[in-house]
Symmetry: D2
Subunit: 292 residues, 4 copies
Amino acid sequence: MNDIKLAVVGGDIRMIYCAKELAKRGFEVSFCGFDSAGKDCGDAVRCRTVKDAVKGAAVAVLPVPYSYDGCRINAPFSASEIRVDDVLEAVMPTQLVLAGVCPPSFIEKAEELSLSVIDYMKDEELTIRNAIPTAEGALELAMKELPVTVHGAKTLVLGYGRVGKAVAAAFSALRSCVTVCARHADALAWANAAGYKTADMKDICRAVKDKDIIINTVPALIVDNNVLSFIGDDTLIIDLSSVPGGVDFEAAARYGVKTLHALSLPGKVAPETAGENIADAVCGIMRKKGVI
Amino acid sequence: MNDIKLAVVGGDIRMIYCAKELAKRGFEVSFCGFDSAGKDCGDAVRCRTVKDAVKGAAVAVLPVPYSYDGCRINAPFSASEIRVDDVLEAVMPTQLVLAGVCPPSFIEKAEELSLSVIDYMKDEELTIRNAIPTAEGALELAMKELPVTVHGAKTLVLGYGRVGKAVAAAFSALRSCVTVCARHADALAWANAAGYKTADMKDICRAVKDKDIIINTVPALIVDNNVLSFIGDDTLIIDLSSVPGGVDFEAAARYGVKTLHALSLPGKVAPETAGENIADAVCGIMRKKGVI
Amino acid sequence: MNDIKLAVVGGDIRMIYCAKELAKRGFEVSFCGFDSAGKDCGDAVRCRTVKDAVKGAAVAVLPVPYSYDGCRINAPFSASEIRVDDVLEAVMPTQLVLAGVCPPSFIEKAEELSLSVIDYMKDEELTIRNAIPTAEGALELAMKELPVTVHGAKTLVLGYGRVGKAVAAAFSALRSCVTVCARHADALAWANAAGYKTADMKDICRAVKDKDIIINTVPALIVDNNVLSFIGDDTLIIDLSSVPGGVDFEAAARYGVKTLHALSLPGKVAPETAGENIADAVCGIMRKKGVI
Amino acid sequence: MNDIKLAVVGGDIRMIYCAKELAKRGFEVSFCGFDSAGKDCGDAVRCRTVKDAVKGAAVAVLPVPYSYDGCRINAPFSASEIRVDDVLEAVMPTQLVLAGVCPPSFIEKAEELSLSVIDYMKDEELTIRNAIPTAEGALELAMKELPVTVHGAKTLVLGYGRVGKAVAAAFSALRSCVTVCARHADALAWANAAGYKTADMKDICRAVKDKDIIINTVPALIVDNNVLSFIGDDTLIIDLSSVPGGVDFEAAARYGVKTLHALSLPGKVAPETAGENIADAVCGIMRKKGVI
């Protein structure tokens, strides 16, 4: 794969690990926007400008999220601002743009320039892989916040999708007593087969009682005022669902229940793993697109 | 057990949980030295003085460690100093003194007053129970410090006693790839039976290579200058053995290897569990001594 | 649920456990066709004829498979033959017929009589629940046939659907070294997250080498002559996929590779669990159909 | 190790695997007494007589048990009888005799001839290693006999030594609900740390209630008439302790409780692993004795 060039533009420490990993896999990797990151980038080659980095690349990899304001690339380690428009201008229609968490507006803008943009954060495999660092992040928070050990603690996991499965597995592996609460009978049958206690989501009010920790993975207001009224004030709630989350945080505060809204855990708790996972996703997408 | 009175004197938050737990088990518990601890103590009764607390008690439970300087009881939440001598004076020879980490000097002083002192930190069961919060503490540190997930990380555990077993089990449960390095063939056979890779301590220099994390549990200088010369600078070393520890920290610094000397983890990561474990030990000792 | 009557007609020992379990859940259960089964049936009521059993029942539960020849109900414990036609005649259009493994011909025949037939073996939950006894059956076979322990043995699981997941989990739990071989990248990501080694189905010839045991769960000819040429003659192959199975058994015999085609394991290895699972499925279907 | 010769004399299929394994490790291995065993013995060399096999060997390895009657070597695959006396005569005082399960009479007889005999079945490591096939054998029996899956079954393990630990771990790994019943507080603390429920041996009568399976590992009459009176007739008892076992089998028969006395499981369920474990023990003993 020595002939294929990839450009990595901006991003946090994850993208440095991503660039390094791609170089390790035999790609020619050029990158820009990591001026102040004191990290070794392996065999990846540092470029001064976006233009230099992108030139000749088969794929331009933008960070996750690609931008916070839609104007500037998310590039905390860059000495100077990198404008989204400059990146789009530097890319040719023959080149593929991979970016994390792209709103429709960005994709439309790119399409106007005849550019193909793929949001790698929608990649199923990446989402599965990221469930592991998310679960470990939840575990780390639980260990930090709970006055008891996870071993022996009563844990309730709300939702049994990718993250719910990883969280239940991690807590159960450490001998926490795990109950999974989900809506679908299939999910409950799976949870039962995996060895957990189960509760139908209709019975959530009973399920939340006497738990040491409740971890929500459902992106909907599940833990509302009514549910909170059944939760003891010794219980810790960790909400892993994306903004606005699945917990009525104000009501929780009123009830004196401690809540943590933990977002984007993979990049925080395991940036190297998260960067390698992105590199995996980039390779998977290139395979599907026939680039490699 | 309503007729038996126990006194808890001083200590950190663990001893509050210990007092609460003992009260929950039906003992009449009086305590002093927690003036500024904003914690509910359940049914335990707060006393103003050591004398009041100890009066009529079958057992006086001192903290862990009972003192940092041999003069004053370790009592961070006490409004005023509690002198060790005052406690010893308040106790009668018919009462039992239980304390954590007692030097011979303390035991001698007590014996001069015809008092029986038992160091509950030497209790085998307590040591076994405390291995769990210690292992969880090591896990929390690893998650916090490592840029990769524990899942898939290569972990080396030095020593396979109580703590080594708990650490290996916890990391392996999270799907880390665990190698146990120990001296005795029996320990290695056990580690193998538990499903870990094993290495003889004689081969430690080969065993430390390419590990993401090394956790020492042996209270002897195992990771010396020579061993360190084989350890990569991406490796994290967590030393769980008591002062002075099993790692040549200065040499590690020279080699640029990151080290953490993590002591007294149970009280830090899970004070409630640690306090309940002490309550367990107190009960166990009382049973052996015929108090209950 | 005391007012709802259910009829169980024929079947092997699973259906006795099923009848017993339904009675335990508060239904009025009548059954026929178990004359010579020396098993206590709890509160279920024995009837002499199909007519008596079915009369007044909301649901008639037929066995799995409901029949081997399409003419006679599968009823090994029945003193006399139970004809399928007699059952269909005894049932009224207001009654629901639940049966296991129904061919289209049976459903058509029932529809001609305006009867609703539901094949409970197609119930997703039941299939998930049955994966557990299937995996345990595979484990029992492996333990019986292999000269080595499962602990430490190298296991290859082909396919990562319901049964593949349960099998991988069971073998890995006993510290076998498990590799999962599947086609879809998502499945491989899941298998990786669960802590197994993975291999793309395209690389199956490499994956089968040096394995102690290979367990196929894919209902397609995966282990063909070519693949078999890479398998050592110490390797045991267990095929869990339904007839005709996923292994070229003739070629395997030529190569001297031992194969076992293990079918319908739940009923064989854990008839009580299998019967309770059917009772679960019956209840789930009744809920969906508004019967309860 | 090419210069060291070892002789393997008689035994069941385990000893063939043992001979093969020793040859694989680079020893020159000669053996006799496997005439009718249709097994390939790798690089080990077949001898016609004991004399030929033993000649020049550093160590003579006898089977487990070395003999059933004290006169003839246990050699089911031998065309002709091998007399114990003939073996002892063939061995020189400079050669080491390793044998399994030696009564004092055998050791005395050997000593009279100035021969050193070591009973490798007393080797601590071997005992630990053999706990794994023993636990798998218990699991296989439970799967074969129980009408329910081990997953979800309520299992009681009596004793928490080597075998008890391995059994509890195996059943728990398959998601059985395991309770450990032991005498010592330390053992119970370990079992609790491993995540099992625990019961003091004093409370065994309560602990045995409502269990699907009870596995005894204690070599003493634990499950006596009184304890049996608390055990339901659906419960399966597997006794792993050596003759006479820990169960009053007659009383069990009277109560209608099904019992299995399972002895020498390693050789039965996993002869290859058992043979390799003996080879391991032989090497360990040779190291201790300075032979290698």
